[in-house]
């Protein structure tokens, strides 16, 4: 028993009593779900056609990766490495859309937000396009770009751009005038004002925009891959479902959830901590 006590004390020291308690408590429902799943595999209350066994989901990884010739082939998006190919093509699209969409949305947002009259004038456009952004564009995107990666990329890009544009515009508009004046009186140029005042000042709003873009964007991307794509995790689970390979569908859903949780926790939350919280700015959800 003393080993157990020592371990408990050591853990409490390392991660803190409250956090340890929360971790343990929080994992209970997950463990319960897993046990329930395992019991279903054993007692077969629901047919494996409806709920696959955990073993078959695990095996699905190897079935999908069958014939994959190492890391080089996986990175090259080889068709024999189905799972990694779909993962990489989804993530790749998200990254590509972010690399293009974030600067574009922020740039246009800053330009529009700098002028009060202009930004008031353009506000309804932002509201309208954010209302139809994402899923509702899928059919038109298919008309424009056909089935394939262009359509899915467009959907993601569209979601990111409008959310960032709108949030940056509102953010820049809300930056106190005196910050701008103080930089100007120190001899700063327009560009100094943009980089040192508008963008950091609009940061709370921009990060809200990023989080929303990731939230809505991922959902829209998955839908777009199902409807108008020919690769990616959404495409994978959709085609697997058509062939009634439920274990592959489960695998895909689990991967999607993990990637989504990870981007939020390890990318967006730290970003928020590093800017808004450190600067003591108030985070206002719009």
């Amino acid at each position: 028993m003393s080993i157990f006590n020592d371990l408990s004390i050591a853990l409490q020291r390392k991660i803190g009593r409250q956090r340890l308690r929360k971790w343990i408590l929080g994992s209970i429902p997950f463990i319960f779900l897993i046990i329930l799943w395992e019991m279903n595999s054993y007692f077969v209350w629901l047919e494996p056609v409806y709920i696959p066994t955990s073993g078959s989901v695990w095996e699905a990884i190897f079935t999908l990766q069958e014939g994959c010739e190492g890391v080089a082939a996986a990175v090259a998006l080889d068709n024999s490495c189905l799972m990694t190919t779909h993962i990489f093509s989804s993530i790749g699209r998200v990254i590509l859309a972010a690399v293009v969409g974030l600067p574009l949305g922020i740039a246009f947002g800053v330009i529009a937000g700098m002028n009060r009259t202009l930004s008031k004038f353009l506000e309804p456009i932002g509201i309208f396009f954010n209302s139809i952004s994402g899923i509702a564009w899928i059919p038109l995107a298919i008309v424009w770009f056909g089935i394939g990666w262009q359509t899915t990329l467009f959907i993601m890009l569209n979601t990111i751009f409008w959310l960032l544009f709108f949030n940056t515009m509102l953010g820049v508009r809300g930056v106190a005038k005196v910050f701008e004046q103080s930089v100007l009186t120190m001899g700063g140029s327009r560009w100094d004002v943009i980089t040192q005042v508008y963008i950091p000042g609009a940061m709370p709003s921009i990060i809200t925009g990023c989080r929303m873009a990731m939230g809505f964007g991922w959902r829209a991307l998955i839908a777009a891959e199902m409807i108008g794509g020919d690769s990616g995790l959404g495409f994978m689970i959709f085609t697997s479902a058509a062939e009634f390979k439920i274990e592959e569908v489960f695998l895909g859903v689990i991967i999607i959830s993990i990637i989504f949780m990870a981007t939020d926790r390890y990318l967006l939350v730290p970003m928020e901590r590093w800017t808004i919280q450190r600067w003591g700015l108030v985070w206002k959800p719009t």
Binding site: P29, T117, I227
Partner: protein, 280 residues
């Protein structure tokens, strides 16, 4: 050297905004007028693009064509019927989601241990998109209304349950202690402290739920092929009727603006104003 009258009038003139700028400002100040100008500008740009590209009927029909197609669809009764189908799904799905989600969140949130237990799993499921679950649901129930409704229910339930749970947890312990020193019973604390204290979060959760639910309806209809606005734009794309696709998109956008800005946001801000605990 004194200031002459000419100087004065120069300065005064500079002090007044030029009449044109002033007129523009006044026009902009009237929101409706602002909107009319903006819509006109957008329509003109749209028309010009549509007139210059090759094969506009396929890629970007002009606003006029889209308008005519809406007249046609209203005349045939298709548009109102699709619209009704979609709204019915949204209302039923999110209603059930809210009716189940609010009490669930409250019940789970009342006890600290239970709340800490359920917080991570609710957070997990609220961030797993309902659309991603669609293929699983299709295997279970096929391309049916049940599938679409299940997607909406899922997307509506988790945000509300999660928000109610965190709302209850965030009611300051001081308030509970204060009620206790006044001799309040457990039930009275729930009724008079915890539920009102969580009201702003409940309102936010409802708005989020319906927001996610709305997107889920559109996607669900497209994927499962059930009649409604989502299906309308999807089948129109299949049938090469781009005017109808754009009409559907505009309908989807406008419906959400009306719903969000005139129903949900006022509801949320009024609740927050009425019940909000302004604390820093």
């Amino acid at each position: 050297m004194a200031v002459t009258n000419t100087d004065r009038s120069i300065s005064e003139a500079a002090g007044r905004r030029s009449t044109l700028a002033q007129l523009w400002r006044q026009i902009i100040r009237i929101d409706a007028m602002n909107l009319v100008i903006l819509v006109a500008v957008v329509l003109v740009i749209w028309t010009v693009i549509s007139a210059t590209i090759a094969n506009p009927a396929r890629y970007l029909p002009s606003p006029l064509v889209v308008g005519l197609s809406s007249v046609d669809m209203i005349y045939k009764g298709l548009l109102p019927s699709y619209f009704g189908d979609t709204m019915l799904r949204l209302v039923v799905g999110s209603f059930i989601g809210i009716v189940v989600g609010v009490p669930f969140g409250l019940a789970v949130g009342l006890n600290r241990t239970v709340a800490d237990m359920f917080y991570p799993i609710l957070n997990f499921f609220q961030s797993v998109s309902g659309i991603a679950l669609f293929p699983i649901l299709v295997i279970w129930w096929g391309n049916s209304d049940t599938t679409v409704l299940a997607v909406i229910l899922y997307t509506a339930f988790f945000p509300i349950a999660f928000n109610v749970l965190s709302g209850v947890r965030e009611v300051p312990i001081r308030f509970i202690q204060a009620a206790r020193t006044l001799g309040a019973s457990r039930w009275q604390i729930i009724k008079d402290v915890l539920v009102p204290g969580a009201m702003p979060h409940i309102a936010t959760g409802i708005r989020l739920s319906i927001g996610f639910g709305w997107r889920a309806v559109i996607a669900g209809e497209m994927l499962a092929g059930r009649e409604g606005l989502g299906w309308m734009i999807f089948s129109a794309q299949d049938g090469d009727n781009t005017a109808r696709v754009i009409l559907g998109m505009v309908m989807i956008g406008l419906t959400w603006i009306v719903l969000d800005h005139y129903v949900l946001r006022p509801f949320e801000s009024e609740t927050i104003e009425r019940w909000g605990l302004v604390q820093r």
